[in-house]
C-alpha cells in the first residue's frame, strides 16, 4: 500500500503569537511539524508496517516547510517532497487543495493521510477539499485501522463523531484525517534523524504539476490582537472550605452563570 501523508510547518504550541505592525508574528519561537500531523505520520507508518508499501511525506510551503518534512522523515517516512512556487504564498484552501491534489495524482498512492487541522490557520478544511478535487472518498477523524482487504482494496476504519464511533469500509484510494486517539506518535530514532538530515528533498513547482492557480478567493485583509481580557482575579478567602464555597456560589449567582 503506497501512502502519501500531507503535513505543514507551524509555530510551536507554546509560541507567543501576536500581531505587530499589522502582521502575525511569533518572535523567536521555533517552527515545528504541526502537532496534529504527527498523528497522521504515525498512522501512515503503521499502515505501511501492517499492509506493506512505502510512505511519502509532502508539504506545500517555502523552505521553512523542510523542518516538518525532515521530522516526518526522521520518524520513518521513506521520501519527502516539497511543493512550492511564488504564486502559492497567498494560497487559500481551494488553491492549496488543487496543488496538493495535483502532486498526489502524480504520486498515485492508495491512501492519503492528513492531520485533523493545522494549528496556525485552524481551518480543518484542506483534507476534505483535497478528497473532493481528487474525487476520492473522504473519512475524517479516524481512530483505528481495523483491517485491509487486498482483493477489494478496502480499508476498514473507525472514525469518531461527537455522538458515536462509526466503523466504515472505505474503498481505496481514499483521503483520511487522523484523530489523536489513533496512537501516540513515535519519536524519531537517532539513525532516523541522521538519515533525514542528509535526505535530498526535491521541490515541485507549478510547471512540474502542470497547474495554474487562480488568485485566492479568500483574502485576509486584516489581522488583529483579540481584545485583552481585563481580568483582575478576585480571590475568595474564608475560614473554612464551606465559607469559601458559600462566597463563591454567591458570586456565581450574581454573575448569572448558576
Amino acid at each position: 500500500m503506497n501512502i502519501v501523508v500531507g503535513v505543514k510547518v507551524v509555530p510551536d504550541t507554546a509560541a507567543q503569537v501576536r500581531v505587530e505592525d499589522g502582521k502575525v508574528t511569533w518572535g523567536e519561537a521555533p517552527l515545528v511539524l504541526n502537532p496534529w500531523d504527527e498523528f497522521a505520520v504515525e498512522a501512515a507508518l503503521q499502515a505501511k508496517e501492517k499492509f506493506g508499501g512505502q510512505v511519502t511525506v509532502i508539504s506545500m510551503g517555502d523552505e521553512a516547510a523542510l523542518e516538518a518534512l525532515r521530522r516526518a522523515l526522521a520518524m520513518g517516512c521513506q521520501q519527502a517532497i516539497r511543493i512550492y512556487d511564488e504564486p502559492l504564498a497567498q494560497a487559500d484552501v481551494l488553491a492549496t487543495a488543487q496543488v496538493l491534489s495535483a502532486a498526489i495524482r502524480k504520486l498515485n498512492p492508495d491512501l492519503v493521510i492528513f492531520g485533523r487541522q493545522a494549528i496556525d490557520g485552524d481551518t480543518a478544511s484542506t483534507p476534505a477539499a483535497v478528497a473532493q478535487v481528487l474525487g476520492w472518498p473522504f473519512v475524517g477523524l479516524v481512530t483505528a485501522f481495523r483491517g485491509f482487504d487486498e482483493g477489494s482494496k478496502t480499508l476498514e476504519v473507525v472514525r469518531t463523531l461527537d455522538e458515536a464511533k462509526q466503523t466504515l469500509r472505505v474503498p481505496l484510494p481514499a483521503v483520511l484525517t487522523i484523530a489523536k486517539e489513533f496512537a501516540e506518535p513515535r519519536y524519531p530514532s537517532f539513525i532516523g534523524i541522521r538519515k533525514a538530515s542528509r535526505a535530498k528533498i526535491p521541490v515541485w513547482n507549478l510547471a512540474e504539476l502542470g497547474l495554474e492557480v487562480h488568485p485566492p478567493r479568500v483574502t485576509w485583509p486584516e489581522v488583529m490582537q483579540p481584545p485583552q481580557r481585563e481580568v483582575v482575579c478576585q480571590f475568595i478567602e474564608g475560614e473554612t472550605p464551606r465559607e469559601i464555597a458559600r462566597k463563591l456560589v454567591d458570586k456565581l449567582i450574581e454573575e448569572k452563570v448558576l
Binding site: 504550541t13 507554546a14 503569537v17 502575525v24 502537532p35 496534529w36 487559500d92 484552501v93 494549528i119 490557520g121 485552524d122 481551518t123 480543518a124 478544511s125 476534505a128 483535497v130 478528497a131 473532493q132 472518498p137 473522504f138 473519512v139 475524517g140 473507525v158 469518531t160 463523531l161 461527537d162 455522538e163 458515536a164 464511533k165 466503523t167 466504515l168 469500509r169 472505505v170 474503498p171 489523536k180 485566492p216 478567493r217 479568500v218 483574502t219 485576509w220 486584516e222 489581522v223 488583529m224 483579540p226 481580568v231 482575579c233 480571590f235 475568595i236 478567602e237 472550605p241 464551606r242 469559601i244 464555597a245 463563591l248 456560589v249 458570586k251 456565581l252 454573575e255 452563570v257 448558576l258
Partner: protein, 349 residues
C-alpha cells in the same frame, strides 16, 4: 445575482446537536441584506421533524431531501447532494455550524463549487458584494478578518451565535426534493455509542475541569490505599479525584474537562481534554481545579464567560485569566461547593 442564504441542518440519525440552529441567527441578517430568503437544507432518511424545527427556527423555506442512503452521514454522499441543490437554487451564502460534520461538508462543498470558504467565524456580514467575517486563528491568539466574493461557504463557530428561539409555525414552505443519489462507496459497518452522560464538552454551559493537581490528595482515598506502586497509586488517586469533579459537574448540569497533563498522565480519557490539542470550549462557567494554566490550555478555554480557578499555588498562571480565584486544596473545596449547592437546592437532577 444570487441572493438566498442556505443553512445546512446538521444531525446524527435525525438528532440535531444544539449548534445546528445557531447559523439561523446570522442567516436572517444576511438574507435581509441580500433581499432573499433563509433556505434550510435537510438531508436525511426521515427528515420531517428536522424540517419542522428548521421552520420553527426561522427558515422561510426548507429543501427536504429524503433517501434511505442518507440515514448515515458520509461526506461525499452528503456533499454531492448539496452540490446538486446548488445547481438548482440561487444560493449566495451557504452556512453550516462548525461541528465535525459541518466543517467537513463545508470544505467539500466549497471545493466542489470552486468558491471561497470562511470557516469557524464568530461574526459575519455583507459588504460591497462580499462576505466579510472574523475568526480566531492560532488557537485564538490572533483574530483575522477574512473575505470572499459571493457565492461563499461559511461555518459558524459553535456557541458564538445564539440560536433563535423556536416559534410556532405551520408546515408551509417545506419542499420535498428528489435527487438522483448514487450509493456511497463508503459502507457503514456499525456504530459504537458511548454511554451518554450529561452535555458534550463543546456544548456545555458549565465545565468542571481538572489538571495534574487532582493527583495531590491530602489523604490517600480508600480504594487506592492498598496500592504499593507509587505511579499506580497516584493514578488511582487522580481517578478518584476526577470522579469527585465529575459529581460536581453532574450536579451543575455540566461536563467534565481535563488538562493535557492530566490526560497524558493517564488520569482521564482524551475525549475530556480541553486545549489547543483537545477541545476548544466557550462555556458560561469554567471551573479549573488543579490546572496551572499552560498557554496551550488557555487557548482552549480563554473565551469562557466566567473562569474560576482553584489551585494550591498562588502564582499559577491560570489566576491571570481567572475572574475568581481560590488558593486552596481542591480536595476540600470541590466537596464543599457540592454541599453548598445541595443545601441551597441548586443541584440539577
Amino acid at each position: 445575482m444570487s441572493k438566498h442564504v442556505a443553512v445546512v441542518v446538521d444531525h446524527f440519525q435525525g438528532q440535531a446537536p444544539g449548534a445546528t440552529w445557531e447559523p439561523f441567527t446570522p442567516a436572517r441578517d444576511l438574507a435581509q441584506a441580500l433581499g432573499g430568503q433563509v433556505v434550510a437544507v435537510v438531508l436525511a432518511a426521515d427528515g420531517q421533524a428536522l424540517a419542522q424545527e428548521a421552520k420553527a427556527r426561522g427558515a422561510d423555506r426548507v429543501l427536504l431531501v429524503e433517501h434511505p442512503s442518507l440515514a448515515d452521514y458520509r461526506t461525499g454522499l452528503y456533499g454531492k447532494a448539496l452540490a446538486a441543490l446548488a445547481q438548482e437554487h440561487d444560493i449566495a451564502v451557504w452556512l453550516f455550524p462548525a461541528t465535525t460534520r459541518g466543517k467537513e461538508l463545508a470544505a467539500w462543498l466549497a471545493a466542489a463549487l470552486g468558491v471561497g470558504l470562511l470557516p469557524d467565524v464568530f461574526e459575519v456580514a455583507l459588504a460591497d458584494g462580499k462576505v466579510t467575517a472574523r475568526r480566531p486563528v492560532y488557537a485564538g491568539k490572533v483574530w483575522a478578518r477574512v473575505e470572499a466574493p459571493l457565492p461563499a461557504v461559511v461555518t459558524t463557530r459553535v456557541r458564538s451565535f445564539e440560536a433563535p428561539e423556536p416559534q410556532a409555525v405551520d408546515a408551509a414552505g417545506i419542499e420535498k426534493v428528489d435527487l438522483a443519489l448514487e450509493e456511497s462507496p463508503v459502507q457503514v459497518v456499525g456504530y459504537e455509542k458511548p454511554e451518554a452522560e450529561g452535555p458534550r464538552l463543546t456544548e456545555a454551559r458549565i465545565i468542571v475541569s481538572g489538571g495534574r493537581g487532582v493527583a495531590n490528595a491530602p489523604q490517600v482515598p480508600e480504594p487506592c490505599a492498598g496500592i504499593s506502586d507509587p505511579k499506580e497509586r497516584e493514578k488511582c488517586i487522580a481517578q478518584e479525584g476526577f470522579k469527585m469533579l465529575g459529581e460536581l459537574a453532574k450536579a451543575l448540569g455540566g461536563a467534565l474537562g481535563a488538562s493535557r497533563a492530566a490526560v497524558d498522565a493517564g488520569y482521564i480519557s482524551y475525549d475530556h481534554q480541553v486545549g489547543q490539542t483537545g477541545k476548544v470550549v466557550s462555556p458560561d462557567l469554567y471551573m479549573a481545579f488543579g490546572i496551572s494554566g499552560a498557554i496551550q490550555h488557555q487557548a482552549g478555554m480563554r473565551t469562557s464567560k466566567i473562569i474560576v480557578a482553584i489551585n494550591k499555588d498562588p502564582e499559577a498562571p491560570i489566576f491571570k485569566i481567572a475572574h475568581y480565584g481560590i488558593v486552596g486544596d481542591l480536595w476540600e473545596i470541590a466537596p464543599a461547593i457540592l454541599e453548598e449547592l445541595r443545601e441551597r437546592g441548586l443541584v440539577k437532577t
